[in-house]
């Protein structure tokens, strides 16, 4: 046991080590800097009401990104998540419309989302179509399916008061779901065989296969996870805005989720990434969108500023990371 006087600096050294040693914590620095910036420049940014709004900017993206992270680590990608997002909410609507109790309807809707993931996974791993193409196909297919079954019309989201409050309608419900799922999935990724195999398959496919990992099953499972989470996020959002819209989600949420994952340190090439990192990535995007809207930036300049801010934020992130490496810290990003 070291004496207390010596323990203090070593504790802070350990914190600094932790802060810079982990990839996702350098993007956390960027997120905090952004938060502080808006806190100091926009009066209402600190209000409770805005905290709730900020949560709605982040929640759905973070949940979809969590599934995408598993898939991206194992070397695949799912472009159809935004369409699963819209379709699952409609499945829920049609089931409750047919008299199925709502909780059972949620479960069946999520199972149907998982089945879409199963389809994506089987086409990719068994037939051998690249996941980019497979899910590009289901991207259009599912969009058409949603438009057809809905006649292109939005409908009222079903559910009583308690259901609504728990599944996205309550003030912090969406963001709490997001945080809970992110923590749980981070544990799965770091502490279970599923997580370990996911890294192994993405890092070295041949080696994993020779080591006896059922690589196809690992990937299929990740496709199913990504679809299920996208479906769940779709339900949360449909409940929150009280309307189930066939154009909800789409390519917008898909790009945001992939962006959040990549900003949070997940490699597009596979083999590396964390769910927490993607969550922080979603926070960065959410803070930028919320903050600039509060500042009164209009639509035309908004994309200009958002794009610039993402580039600056990522450049700062790289700068911090590079410094860490120069300081003698090797290792993968």
């Amino acid at each position: 046991m070291a004496p207390e006087t010596a323990a203090a600096p070593s504790a802070s050294a350990r914190f600094a080590e932790l802060a810079l040693g982990r990839r996702e914590l350098s993007i956390a620095v960027v997120a905090i800097a952004l938060y502080v910036y808006f806190l100091n420049t926009v009066v209402d940014f600190a209000s409770t009401a805005n905290l709730q709004t900020l949560g709605t900017f982040i929640a759905a993206t973070a949940i979809v990104a969590a599934g995408q992270v598993f898939l991206m680590i194992s070397g695949e990608i799912d472009l159809s998540v935004g369409q699963v997002f819209a379709l699952t909410a409609f499945v829920l609507y049609f089931l409750t419309d047919a008299g199925v109790p709502i909780m059972l309807a949620v479960v069946i809707a999520l199972i149907s989302a998982a089945l879409i993931g199963l389809f994506n996974g089987v086409v990719t791993t068994v037939i051998g179509v690249s996941s980019f193409i497979t899910t590009l196909g289901t991207f259009f297919l599912l969009n058409g399916l949603t438009l057809t079954i809905s006649d292109g019309r939005p409908v009222d989201t079903p559910g009583g008061e308690t259901f609504t409050n728990v599944f996205g309608g309550g003030a912090y419900s969406g963001i709490l779901w997001a945080i809970g799922l992110v923590l749980a999935l981070q544990l799965v990724l770091m502490r279970t065989r599923w997580g370990l195999h996911t890294f192994a398959v993405g890092g070295n496919l041949l080696g994993s296969r020779e080591a006896g990992i059922r690589v196809r099953w690992v990937k299929v499972r990740n496709f199913m996870l990504a679809s299920t989470l996208a479906g769940f996020a779709g339900i949360l959002e449909a409940v929150r805005i009280t309307s189930t819209d066939p154009l909800a989600g789409g390519s917008g949420i898909m790009f945001q989720a992939i962006a959040a994952a990549v900003i949070g340190g997940t490699l597009l090439a596979g083999g590396s990434g964390t769910v927490i990192g993607a969550f922080i990535g979603a926070c960065v995007l959410g803070i930028l969108r919320d903050g600039f809207t509060l500042q009164g930036v209009s639509a035309f300049t908004f994309d200009l500023i958002l794009g610039g801010a993402i580039l600056v934020a990522m450049a700062v992130d790289i700068y911090v990371t590079r410094f860490r490496h120069r300081g003698g810290r090797g290792g993968a990003i």
Binding site: Y37, D44, R153, L294, F300, I305
Partner: protein, 360 residues
């Protein structure tokens, strides 16, 4: 993911400079953001002189939540809001979704409410999604009016825009005049959207009510102009017996005119028409490729919300809002020239402020 090598000595040696790196990175980010944020500085409230006869007020900020913020149709709407803002010494923000994503619009509206803006104008493109936010805004004392699209049951104080169903009925009557019998196509960009679906419903009602032997197909064309053109083109190729091509949104209308021109369908007596005054639509209307287009005066949909919100604000809600039908203006070959010869802020075809003499 693990970077846990390196000796303890190395850690403490690097500790201070690493902190400096963090601080440096953060400072660079904040500086860059401050530079980015400058463009919105003028949105900050500053004391106004009091416009015209009106009392001195803080510089009110009104927010327009739109479903397709970057669509060219709404350029004149933004000019209208800009001109009214200059007149009344107020500010406005143009925000929402680029592709009719309702959740994104709800987020934008909620952000406006938490930002304590002075008034909100919202295009209500969903039957229910905006009811909650509208009530929340009104409870917070923020007046809300709808423009361009509206839904029954929303608590907004007034609607400023076209009476969509009625305009559809009028268009349907015009279709019956032009094509008394046979097959017609009705094109719609995104079925179910509250800003266009009522028009097609109205047109169908008028066609049915006429009792004429008219067959109609309703065809979805998609939200992007290139896609819309291809869909209309494809429909024509598969349906050569069609007697009339009509559309209920700007992009589809332009596409109808282009397809009629491409296949010289006027020679076969095919009729055409639709909505809005995109430059290409007007050009082809003047060239007699279609029979009419309906102008819903988007400039006014930006101008009057600002005026109504302003008066509501200064009167403490005693007065200010009222329903406003921005119109049902059939533009034909004869009027198209006036539009073409006078690019203006009213049509979004020119940024310049100028006086246009009637008939010129």
């Amino acid at each position: 993911m693990t970077d846990r090598d390196g000796t303890p000595e190395a850690h403490s040696r690097l500790q201070i400079s690493r902190r400096a790196a963090l601080a440096g990175g953060g400072a660079a980010l904040v500086a860059a953001l401050a530079a980015c944020g400058k463009s919105s500085d003028d949105a900050e409230g500053e004391e106004g002189q009091g416009a015209g006869n009106f009392p001195q007020t803080p510089k009110y900020r009104f927010v327009f939540v739109n479903h397709v913020t970057t669509n060219p149709f709404f350029v004149p709407t933004q000019y209208g809001a800009e001109d009214a803002s200059a007149l009344l010494k107020t500010d406005f923000q143009w925000t929402g979704s680029e592709k009719a994503d309702v959740a994104e619009m709800v987020n934008a509206m909620n952000t406006a409410i938490t930002g304590n803006v002075d008034g909100i104008a919202i295009a209500i493109t969903d039957q229910k999604a905006f009811n909650g936010p509208t009530e929340k805004a009104l409870e917070a004392g923020i007046p809300v009016v709808s423009y361009n699209a509206d839904a029954p049951g929303n608590a907004r104080l007034a609607y400023i825009g076209q009476d969509l169903f009625l305009s559809g009925v009028e268009m349907g009557k015009r279709i019956v005049q032009l094509v008394p019998e046979g097959k017609v196509a009705l094109f719609i960009a995104t079925p179910g959207s509250l800003n266009i679906q009522p028009r097609i419903d109205g047109a169908i009602k008028a066609i049915k009510d006429s009792g004429r032997p008219i067959e109609y197909d309703t065809i979805a064309t998609g939200a992007e102009l290139n896609e819309e053109l291809s869909r209309v083109d494809a429909y024509h190729i598969g349906n050569k017996d069609v007697k009339g091509l009509f559309a209920v949104d700007a992009g589809s209308t332009q596409s109808v005119a282009q397809v009629i021109q491409k296949y010289k369908l006027r020679d076969e007596g095919v009729k055409g028409g639709g909505y809005d005054t995109l430059p290409k639509t007007l050009e082809l209307l003047q060239d007699d490729q279609i029979d009419f287009t309906i102008d819903q005066q988007p400039y006014l949909q930006g101008f009057y919300p600002v005026v109504q919100l302003y008066i509501t604000k200064i009167s403490g809600g005693l007065t200010g809002t009222g329903e406003m039908n921005t119109g049902l203006k059939f533009v034909t070959k004869d009027d198209a020239g006036t539009y073409m010869a006078n690019p203006s802020r009213f049509e979004g075809s020119s940024e310049d402020q100028k006086v246009i003499r009637s008939g010129a």
